[in-house]
Symmetry: C2
Subunit: 94 residues, 2 copies
Amino acid sequence: MVAVPTSLRGVNYSVTVDVTLRAGIADPEGATIERALPALGFSGVSAVRAGKSFRMNVEADNEEAALAKATSLAQRLLSNPVMEDVVARITSEA
Amino acid sequence: MVAVPTSLRGVNYSVTVDVTLRAGIADPEGATIERALPALGFSGVSAVRAGKSFRMNVEADNEEAALAKATSLAQRLLSNPVMEDVVARITSEA
């Protein structure tokens, strides 16, 4: 068994991927939330949009590679590219 | 009709609220995503956790007030406080 040097193993990055509806796509969930807020006593809140977020640990050589991998997998598995945008960001280096 | 000075109207902040499952709460959605990734050719991704995110414009006097309002409404309307954590962050000043 050959030990793999740390430098070849890559670093674990904590990445958060936000999947949001594209501008112009109707968001009934957000609209319903917005209508419910005044009855709960919250005023001055508008343009509510609902989305999904995914947190994951990504093994990669650097931040750019981690973000690229997370964006790519989110576009293939976690979102509908016709209706949704994907934005990945580094949360921390694990 | 009395015009309201701008200084009394507050500022519109774009706030994003992330609703995530607390540590230790089982996340079948995240586990399913994680199992599906190798078949799509993505390796080195672990600890996938699924959550929700909400973007909204909040009218408030300052950033702290906007974050407090968003956190409060998310805890009452958008999350299950027993199982989920709420984190609000300013995305931009609208």
